[in-house]
Structures are given as structure tokens and as C-alpha cells.
């Protein structure tokens, strides 16, 4: 009993050490060496890191299996703690996610989440909203880069969108003033804007990115987006080596579809971030290939696959696990296991570039298991 407690305390302290590194590096050409690399690979070869895994619904369990297989083949020292969405509403969280699941993420500090479908109905919060509120996930990071070998209309995309995830237009505060007139509140606070701007610049510096662009509509929404811009400017002054610019959102949309190579790191409030990050995902090939990571208070990182649960192909071994695999690579980089992350990342890129094993959505005929096996073989 005492030894169990001692082990849990030690593990907690190690997890804290890893999370304070907060290094993330999803794009292979700009690899930075993590200061924690040497001790991490030595110290954790015997001590596995615990990470929470939410397989999710629909195709979730299949692609989670894929990730587990690839990680096992690459000998990653991660111990998965699986949690499933229940079928009863947990009164402590007001949703189908149990308190234990959330506690496990809080303790482990890292997690990987598959697609979850919120059941329709009242009396409970949406699953994504629950995760976001309970874990304080304030920034959504989505790197979008063209996958070599998978040709889309755009070949030179290499940007990262960082979206403020808690307030803005999605505060959910709406009311009907009189019949036929509805008001919806958009809230921007200094605290949340500073927080996401800080993370954006920190991320840019840690990953060797040269430029951060703040996207706004402050010519029309002068006070709200004006406050967001002020906070970004304040943080920009602390990082003089990073170029900072401000782009109005309609200009940004137009430039993105004409010449996406113009952008590097984009930081935006909630609504614009939602739209722009999906637009960028469309540029590189769709949600089935896009990794994403949510950063929370206290260094929590929850990597997730942003596509839907695709109930029509669930269980048929047709799903494309690339998004979840790339998100798990982001998770590894966050943990500081950069060499392993690089290995898996290169293997995925190589498999897709070769073109022999491609799932149906990419135009091929392979099954999930075949693709996974190809990735494992390429390690």
C-alpha cells in the first residue's frame, strides 16, 4: 500500500517535470533538440509514462488500436489508460464523461482522444464542451502542412493555426430580446487573450517559427478585436526576434486560398480560429489527415483527431488512422520524446508518399490494419 502511494507520487512528479518542458515540434523540417531528450530516454526506458486514451465512438476504437500497435512496434514507453464514454450521465460532470476519466487526464497531464459523438438530447453538456471546461483547455493548435506524396491543389502549405478556445463568439450566451429578435454575446477578455498570445509566441519560438500573424476584424469590431490585438502586441514586444503582423480576416481568407505560403503561425480568437483552421485543413487534404492538440492550464495537453466518428464505416476496417497517428506524434513531442516522434512521423509520411497502402478516403484500397502494418514496417 505504502509502496503504491510512493510510486504514484514519484510518477506524478516525473509527469510534472515533463510537462514543464512544454516543447512541441510537429513539423519535421524545423526540429529543435529538446533539453530533456537525454534524461527522458534514459530515465523513462524502464518507467512508462501514463497517458489517458479516449478511443471514442464509431471508428474511434479501430484507429486507437492502430496507434497502440504503432507505439508498441516503435517501443514507446507509454502506458495507456483507456477510458470510455459512459452511457449514463454522470451528475458530477453533467455529461457522459465520468469524473474518473477527467481526473485521470488531470493527473497524467497528457491524453489522446478519438472522435466522440455527443448523443442528441437535453440535460447534458456536449462532450467536447465538458472536456474543454473541466480541463481548462484554452488553446487549440493545428499544424497544417502539405503531405508529400498526397497531391492536393496546394503544395506549399506549412502553417500552424492557434485558436483561442474558451470565449469569444462561442460563449453560448444568447437570449431572445422580444419575439423575432435574438442577441448573442461575444466576450473577449484581456486574460484569455494574453494567455493564448503568450502560448502562440512561446510555440513559435520553441519551434523555430519566424512570424506570428494575428487575425482580426478590428476595423468593424473595434473594442473586442481591438482588445485582442492590444494583448497580442504586448506579448509581441517580449519576443523581438519574431516578426509580428496583423491581418484582417477577409484579407487572410483571400491570401490563404491564393498563396498559403505567405503565412507561418496564425493566432486568432475563437470563431475566426474555427473557420480558418478548417479552411487550412481543407487546403492540405481534409480533416482525415489533420492533427490537433489542445493545451490546458497547468501544462495539460490533449491531442485529438478532429474528424467525426464516421458511423457509416465503423467496424469495417476502412478508417484512415493518419489523423490520430499524427496527433499522437504531437503528444510525443509535447512529452519531449522527440526522436521517437520523428521516427513515427517519418514512417507515416513515407507510407503515404509510397502510395502502395492508402485507405479509401485517400483514393486507395487498403484497410486500416494494412495501413498500420505498413507504418510499423517502415519504422
Amino acid at each position: 500500500m505504502a509502496s503504491q502511494i510512493l510510486r504514484r507520487v514519484l510518477r506524478g512528479r516525473q509527469a510534472q517535470q515533463i510537462s514543464t518542458a512544454l516543447i512541441e515540434n510537429p513539423s519535421s523540417p524545423r526540429l529543435l533538440s529538446s533539453p530533456f531528450r537525454a534524461p527522458s530516454s534514459a530515465a523513462y526506458s524502464t518507467q512508462p509514462i501514463r497517458a489517458t486514451l479516449f478511443p471514442g465512438d464509431g471508428i474511434g476504437p479501430e484507429i486507437a488500436e492502430s496507434v497502440k500497435k504503432v507505439f508498441a512496434a516503435a517501443e514507446i514507453p507509454i502506458e495507456w489508460e483507456e477510458h470510455f464514454v459512459g452511457d449514463k450521465v454522470d451528475p458530477r460532470t453533467e455529461s457522459f464523461l465520468t469524473w474518473e476519466s477527467l481526473e485521470s487526464v488531470r493527473q497524467n497531464k497528457v491524453g489522446l482522444k478519438g472522435p466522440m459523438a455527443t448523443p442528441i438530447g437535453k440535460g447534458h453538456r456536449s462532450l467536447n464542451l465538458t472536456l474543454r471546461k473541466e480541463l481548462g483547455l484554452y488553446a487549440n493548435v493545428r499544424p497544417c502542412y502539405s503531405l508529400p506524396g498526397y497531391k492536393t491543389r496546394y503544395d506549399d502549405v506549412n502553417l500552424v493555426t492557434i485558436r483561442e478556445n474558451t470565449e469569444g463568439e462561442y460563449s453560448g450566451l444568447e437570449h431572445q430580446v422580444v419575439r423575432g429578435v435574438v442577441e448573442s454575446l461575444k466576450i473577449i477578455t484581456r486574460q484569455a487573450s494574453l494567455r493564448v498570445a503568450e502560448y502562440a509566441f512561446h510555440y513559435a519560438k520553441a519551434n523555430g517559427r519566424k512570424r506570428v500573424s494575428a487575425i482580426h476584424k478590428a476595423n468593424i469590431m473595434r473594442k473586442t478585436d481591438g482588445l485582442f490585438l492590444k494583448c497580442c502586441r504586448e506579448v509581441a514586444e517580449k519576443y523581438p526576434e519574431i516578426t509580428y503582423e496583423e491581418v484582417i480576416i477577409d484579407n487572410c481568407c483571400m491570401m490563404l486560398v491564393k498563396n498559403p505560403a505567405l503565412f507561418d503561425v496564425l493566432v486568432m480568437p475563437n470563431l475566426y480560429g474555427d473557420i480558418i483552421s478548417d479552411l487550412c485543413a481543407g487546403l492540405v487534404g481534409g480533416l482525415g489527415l489533420t492533427p490537433s492538440c489542445n493545451i490546458g492550464e497547468g501544462g495539460i495537453a490533449l491531442a485529438e483527431a478532429v474528424h467525426g466518428s464516421a458511423p457509416d464505416i465503423a467496424g469495417k476496417n476502412l478508417a484512415n488512422p493518419t489523423a490520430l497517428l499524427l496527433s499522437s506524434v504531437m503528444m510525443l513531442r509535447h512529452l519531449g520524446l522527440n526522436d521517437k516522434a520523428e521516427q513515427i512521423h517519418d514512417s507515416i509520411i513515407k507510407t503515404i508518399a509510397e502510395g502502395k497502402y492508402r485507405t479509401v478516403d485517400l483514393g486507395g484500397t487498403s484497410s486500416t490494419t494494412d495501413f498500420t502494418k505498413a507504418v510499423c514496417d517502415n519504422l
Binding site: E183, S184, M254
Partner: protein, 380 residues
């Protein structure tokens, strides 16, 4: 001589069109190069009297491109004359004489007005629209024949609600560091924009109207918008209606734009979708558009990005006049001068497809004046 060139050009383009795309070209492509009198229009006696149109040159590249329109109108001897008014983005409000003139003339042509970012002045563009109650903003995004783009078969009309929504301008600071902005959606405005969209589709033989929204998150506000659209859709059973969430919409626009026809959106999403659609179809420098209300109409460059341009463009005089020229063709049709509109559109499309006189945003090196001269030379 011109006719021989025309047949050679047609043959060349016919070959390139056939080999490059396996789907039939966008409607009107073949016709626009081969000028036939497509209108059998019987005017009322007296319709040929010159009409007054208010002209607002605006800021930046505005004076350059409105000057281009004036030159082409002169060359065509079109029955319009312009009443110029100077309005600049740093004025606090639109001068009353300008509003009076537009109310008298009912039609206005305008260059871009620069809106200072984060400053104390509210946008003059928005002010004009609210004063004159121009509730529908229309942008027509289509592939121009001869202009290479990454996306083919684009022919989208974005109809955007222009007066309320996120641009209500109602913001206040609750406590220091916390700012609120109100997004207002009313049934009245949503209904009339939906009616305009379906009416446009009906009058222009469009097959599908798509409503763009984010009602999964903003359930009451966008929910009200959707309800109004659905009600109006039932009155037009011949037109297909569907709904799409705005982030999915942007993703589909960059991957499969041919699925969209007419799109109706609230204010902010309309801005984003219009600029994205304009970007994929050739750039905001070539897309025409306008703002329509019950009594007045203002025509300007369709999508709002880049309508003021930057200093370099102004100095080098290399702004793209195509958008405003095509918008003035829309204006001529609005004024019921269809033959002049056809001639202008044909000339502009011919110049673009020939490819010798193109401004920088289309990949060429010409100045505005060179493009205008080319259009005037090709006018029938």
C-alpha cells in the same frame, strides 16, 4: 481583320478548353467571346435619356479604377453621367449631400473606402449601408475564361445580409479587461435576405440555394436565421435548398467548389465566404458585386479584401479595374441598359482571355490605363 482573329482565337480556346477539362465549361463562356445580340429588348420611349449616377471615387486605388469606368462609359457613349462626390475613410460620417444625391439618383458606383483599424471612427462603408438600408450584398464569383486558377467550374453567388449580425457595432467594456460585443439577428432581416436570395435564384435560373450558419453553437441566433430561410424555401419548390455549417463550408470551398450555387449567409460569415470564394475563382480584383436595398443600389468591387489596395499599387497605377468594370456592367443592367452591359462584359472578358493586358494580381505587368485602353479598343 478582327473577325479572322476572333475565329482563330475561338478555335484555340475551343481546343484548350476541350483538352483541359472533362466537364463542360461554365455557362456563358463560349457565348461571351462570340458576340451575338443576346437581347431582344424593346425600350419604352424616353428610356434613352441619360441617367445620373452618383460616383464616389474613394481611397487608395478607388480613384484609379473609377476613372477607368468613366473612360469606358465615355467610349461606349453609354446613357449615364456621373456626379462625383469626394468621401474619404477618415471622415467621421458620410456627408449629407452624398446621401441626398444617392437618394435622388437611386444608383451609385463606389471605390473602396479605407477603414482605420481599431480607431474611433466607425466604418463609412457600414454607415452608408445602414443609412440607405442596403440589406443585401452580392458577390458573383466565377472562373473567367482564359484565366488559370487552381479551381475550375466555379460559379458561386454569395448573398450576404448587410445590416445586422456581428456588425451591429454595439460594443461596450463591462469591466476593465472584459469587452462584450452584441450580435443581433432579427426575423425581419433574416426573412428579407432569404427572400432576396431565392428571388435572385429564381430570376437568374439558379438551381440551388445554400444557407451558411453555425447553429450547432449559436443555437438561438443562427437558429432564427435558418428558420427564416426554411420558411422562404417552402415558397420556391423548384429551387433546391440545403444548409451547411460555416467551417465545413470553407473546407468544401477549397476542395469542391463546384457544389455551390447561390449561398445566403448572415453578415460575418458572408464576408469570409465571399472573400474565400473570390480568392479561389481568380482573386478579388476581378469579382463584381454590389449592395442592393429596396430603393437604392450601390455597385462596387465584389469582395471587400483589397478594394483600397496599398500605396505601391497606387503609385505604380497597377490596380485591377476589372472588378469595377464588371460591377458597372451589373449597374447598367440594373438601369435597364442590357445592350451596353453585354458589350462591356464581352470586351472585358475578351481582354482577360487574350492575356496580353493583365495587372499584377492576375500574373501580368500591365498598368490600369493599359487594360482600359485594351477594353476600349475591343469594344464593339
Amino acid at each position: 481583320m478582327a473577325r479572322r482573329n476572333l475565329t482563330i482565337l475561338k478555335r484555340l480556346l475551343g481546343c484548350s478548353l476541350a483538352s483541359s477539362s472533362s466537364v463542360p465549361p461554365a455557362p456563358g463562356v463560349g457565348l461571351s467571346l462570340d458576340f451575338k445580340r443576346s437581347v431582344t429588348y424593346m425600350p419604352r420611349p424616353g428610356d434613352g435619356a441619360p441617367r445620373a449616377v452618383t460616383l464616389i471615387p474613394g481611397d487608395g486605388i478607388g480613384p484609379l479604377v473609377t476613372g477607368a469606368v468613366e473612360q469606358v462609359m465615355e467610349a461606349m457613349h453609354a446613357p449615364v453621367y456621373f456626379e462625383r462626390f469626394e468621401v474619404h475613410g477618415d471622415m467621421t460620417k458620410v456627408p449629407q449631400e452624398v446621401i441626398d444625391s444617392i437618394q435622388k439618383n437611386k444608383v451609385c458606383l463606389k471605390g473602396g473606402l479605407d477603414t482605420p483599424v481599431g480607431g474611433g471612427v466607425s466604418s463609412l462603408n457600414v454607415q452608408l449601408r445602414k443609412e440607405l438600408d442596403l440589406y443585401a450584398s452580392l458577390v458573383n464569383c466565377f472562373n473567367l475564361p482564359g484565366l488559370p486558377t487552381r479551381h475550375q467550374n466555379v460559379d458561386i453567388v454569395v448573398i450576404r445580409e448587410n445590416t445586422e449580425g456581428e456588425y451591429s457595432g454595439l460594443e461596450h467594456e463591462v469591466v476593465p479587461g472584459v469587452v462584450e460585443s452584441l450580435k443581433v439577428i432579427t426575423k425581419f432581416c433574416s426573412e428579407r435576405i432569404a427572400k432576396y436570395a431565392f428571388e435572385y435564384a429564381y430570376l437568374n435560373n439558379r438551381k440551388k440555394v445554400t444557407a451558411v450558419h453555425k447553429a450547432n453553437i449559436m443555437k438561438l441566433a443562427d437558429g432564427l436565421f435558418l428558420e427564416s430561410c426554411r420558411e422562404i424555401a417552402t415558397k420556391y419548390p423548384g429551387i433546391k435548398y440545403n444548409e451547411i455549417i460555416v467551417d465545413n463550408c470553407c473546407m468544401q470551398l477549397v476542395s469542391k467548389p463546384e457544389q455551390f450555387d447561390v449561398m445566403v449567409t448572415p453578415n460575418l460569415y458572408g464576408n469570409l465566404v465571399a472573400n474565400t470564394a473570390a480568392g479561389i475563382a481568380g482573386g478579388t480584383g476581378v469579382m463584381p458585386g454590389g449592395n442592393a436595398g429596396a430603393d437604392h443600389a450601390i455597385f462596387e468591387q465584389g469582395a471587400s479584401a483589397g478594394n483600397v489596395g496599398n500605396e505601391k499599387l497606387v503609385k505604380q497605377k497597377k490596380a485591377n479595374p476589372v472588378a469595377l468594370l464588371l460591377s458597372s456592367a451589373m449597374m447598367l443592367r440594373h438601369l435597364q441598359f442590357p445592350s451596353f452591359a453585354d458589350r462591356l462584359e464581352t470586351a472585358v472578358k475578351r481582354v482577360i482571355s487574350e492575356g496580353r493586358y493583365r495587372t499584377k494580381d492576375l500574373g501580368g505587368q500591365s498598368t490600369t490605363q493599359e487594360v482600359v485602353d485594351a477594353v476600349v479598343a475591343v469594344l464593339d
